[in-house]
Subunit: 324 residues, 2 copies
Amino acid sequence: MYTFEHCQDIINKELEEISLKDSPVNLYEPIRYILSIGGKRLRPSLTLMGCNVFSDIIDNAIYPALAIEIFHNFTLMHDDLMDKSEIRRSYPTVHKKWEENIAILSGDAMLVKSYEYISKCQEDILDKALSIFNQAAIRVCEGQQYDIDYEKTTDVSIPEYLNMIELKTASLIAGALKLGALAGQSMSYDTDLMYEFGRNIGIAFQLQDDLLDVYADPAVFGKSGGGDIVSNKKTFLLVSALNSKDKKIIPVLKKWIEKIDFNRDEKIKEITEIFNKLKLKELTEAKIDDFFKLGLKSLDKISIPDKRKIILRNLTKRLVGRKK
Amino acid sequence: MYTFEHCQDIINKELEEISLKDSPVNLYEPIRYILSIGGKRLRPSLTLMGCNVFSDIIDNAIYPALAIEIFHNFTLMHDDLMDKSEIRRSYPTVHKKWEENIAILSGDAMLVKSYEYISKCQEDILDKALSIFNQAAIRVCEGQQYDIDYEKTTDVSIPEYLNMIELKTASLIAGALKLGALAGQSMSYDTDLMYEFGRNIGIAFQLQDDLLDVYADPAVFGKSGGGDIVSNKKTFLLVSALNSKDKKIIPVLKKWIEKIDFNRDEKIKEITEIFNKLKLKELTEAKIDDFFKLGLKSLDKISIPDKRKIILRNLTKRLVGRKK
């Protein structure tokens, strides 16, 4: 069986050897750049690992995996532009290093390239692979639009927030796993279970991300927390706080959200105190646990001996920060 | 046989009935908007007409035709944003009516939607249809990048310019026709000839467009000319003038190109006079004729009775402004 690290190596090697034309330089250089500045290669590795659950040979999953990774990097390129982010993985973002129009057009070309790769998968699964890929791709766009819409309002319900992260984050993780299962010649029933596994695990990952911004140990997490709090990013914690029944809390939160000039540490401290008071750490951990268990239930149902699922299950545990 | 007008009606009807979700509103409303504000539906009609050359039944060409039209409108949405154009088909452009990020993301979703439609084509041609579509899509991106690059320099050769318009404009027209031929169950040899027909005709269309900006009769063309001259747009005429052997002309042209404050009519008049002096009207007309004839040669070679090609040939003639 292939480990996560082995799959990452395969993907990194494939990406290094990816064939891209030299010109126009301003179209292809940003693509080479964003693909070269790292990243965990989680999604394409999940495609390979999803395949490996059903098949010892994972070669058929490589093109779909690359399609997923190129698509994911396309979304980063356009999201960074839309969010005006200047740094991605410690490097300047494409629209900063080049310019906005180049980020638009290179992103477009990457989206086309991702379809070139999904088109290369075996002919007998092409139709289904495209359907999975199309569905994931449009859901990611929908999720990103809700995310942008929700930036402008404090009136977001918890179900709306969960739907948004399912679309924006979980649908690509689920699609990546489902494509892997499909490439591994899984039965249709198992392919759908793999999607459900990925969907729930994907939501759990995002909630874990939300949690770590506030409660991570900086020594372990590698960056000082509170960035989401400072930027008013809608997270499960903030949305939960804004939906709190304790009506005294809402005006305090809104005051902080509206403030232009503030002391960063003070804002983080005060909002974290509200989160603590509302026991949102515990609530979020419980939610992560719910989705994690729901995901594992689907993985368990897949009609394959358990020993073929252990690596995937352990990776998932690691990613949602569970010791056992 | 189906006429152009009949094909336009089919496409317009299909576009009216296209199924798009209601929300997120800011993702789907701009797509509905750009698809509803008209346009000649030339490319998708060419897909239907390309199919009709080989087959009386054109139903199989409808999904590829819609894919082409949605893709074309995606390029308009992103190109208008990159060019900062405010008006498209007498209506405000998407980034003006909404905002820039909405134009980016709705455009992305349209590109995904175009792949949804190409994915719906018959399974026995899916692989080839994707390959044609992918190739056209990436070429359009490459052409747009060269176009942007060439805006910033006066040092563009005629072959570079022709390559740029081939990529940006002709490759989608050629791809549209080739997809139609494929959907009409044409032989591979004929499918390639249809591409060559479209490629040459597409270049001729663009040269005709370049010509009409300067030499159209406003009463016929419906808008006053010279817009390309005013905006320094690289056209076949301007590129030819900048490559003129008459070295006295270059500094005059460059002076006009660099001028920020100028009288619009004076600029049009003086540059048109340079074009006249260099006989660029005649040169461009001769080039159009070359590409037109090359295109027709490919159409003639297609192994189908000539009577099935007449409507397509006559449309082409009409579009490159030929009386006979």
